[in-house]
């Protein structure tokens, strides 16, 4: 399937045009994207570190997961809400940017993994899932989200 017509349409949307024509809109959205990144990173790390037996060790994993959940969902929503307008403003550039496609791939897998496997492992009590699989889940989660962030930053370079 050729995505180019869709990206041309995205680029021509009124939101995309408005951001392109504004001097300060893109930078402001970028700042919000970065602030949400810090919160998302915090929400992911607190739980993954705990799965690895680090950080807030004396808290039950499930309780920590429940505390982090609204921040995880909220900051991810903020990432998407700020990411989409940025995509609209430079859709054609993104279409030809390999890091953009890597980022989308990582994002889909990371979101699926977090909402299924990781969610199950976090909610299960420690007797049912041993330290090895908990650690492996954390490493996979960290790796996937790192992939999203790393390739996201490289959209600016390639």
């Amino acid at each position: 399937m050729d995505w180019l017509p869709m990206f041309e349409w995205l680029e021509a949307t009124s939101v995309g045009v408005a951001i392109r024509e504004s001097l300060w809109l893109f930078p402001v959205i970028e700042c919000l994207h970065l602030l949400a990144l810090a919160l998302l990173g915090g929400a992911v790390l607190v739980v993954d570190l705990r799965l690895l037996g680090l950080g807030l060790r004396s808290q039950p994993v499930a309780a920590l997961g429940r505390s982090a959940q609204p921040w995880l969902v909220g900051s991810l929503a903020a990432m998407v809400a700020t990411g989409v307008p940025m995509l609209l403003s430079e859709a054609i550039k993104c279409y030809y940017s390999p890091p953009f496609w890597y980022k989308m791939g990582f994002l889909v897998i990371a979101t699926l993994f977090t909402s299924t496997v990781r969610r199950f492992v976090v909610a299960a009590d420690s007797g049912r899932i041993g330290p090895f699989w908990r650690g492996a889940t954390a490493i996979a989660s960290l790796g996937l989200w790192f992939g999203v962030g790393f390739s996201g930053r490289w959209i600016a370079f390639y």
Binding site: L34, A38, A43, L49, L56, S58, Q59, F146, R153, W154
Partner: protein, 165 residues
Amino acid sequence: MELAPFLERLESSWASVAIRESILFYPLVETTHVLTLCLFLGMTATWDLRLVGLAMRGVPVSEVVDRLFPWSIAGFAIMVVSGSLLFLSSPVRASGNVFFQIKMVAIALAGVNAFVFHNTVFRWVAEWGESRQVPARARVAGFCSLGLWAAVVVCGRMQAYNWFD
């Protein structure tokens, strides 16, 4: 001491030129700087949000601070090293940029805020750390920290634009 000649000498140093002209090193340092936000600010914001009463309310404050502090400090160290390398690549332009100047002031203020918090209300954390409601002074410290670090992030991002060069 005159700062301008020093910055110009720094900018013409081999290290500065090497970073500026590198194809991969500069973007890698920049990516490291951005992604370490997750570690440094992610951990710092977690405990600020605990102080403010918005997150981790079931976890004692002393535990949040003690257990996350090493991660936060590790993140801060990576931020300083990667940030210094970015600064080194163009010291004259960076130091003349108003966003960079505001960013440095905000970091200093965040440091003062953290110092005051640790040496006043955090000293008697044993009395209030378990409760969901924290003293007003601790909440103020949490709000100040969140606001100052947010300003640091915003200024850091804005610095890259040449609006005020």
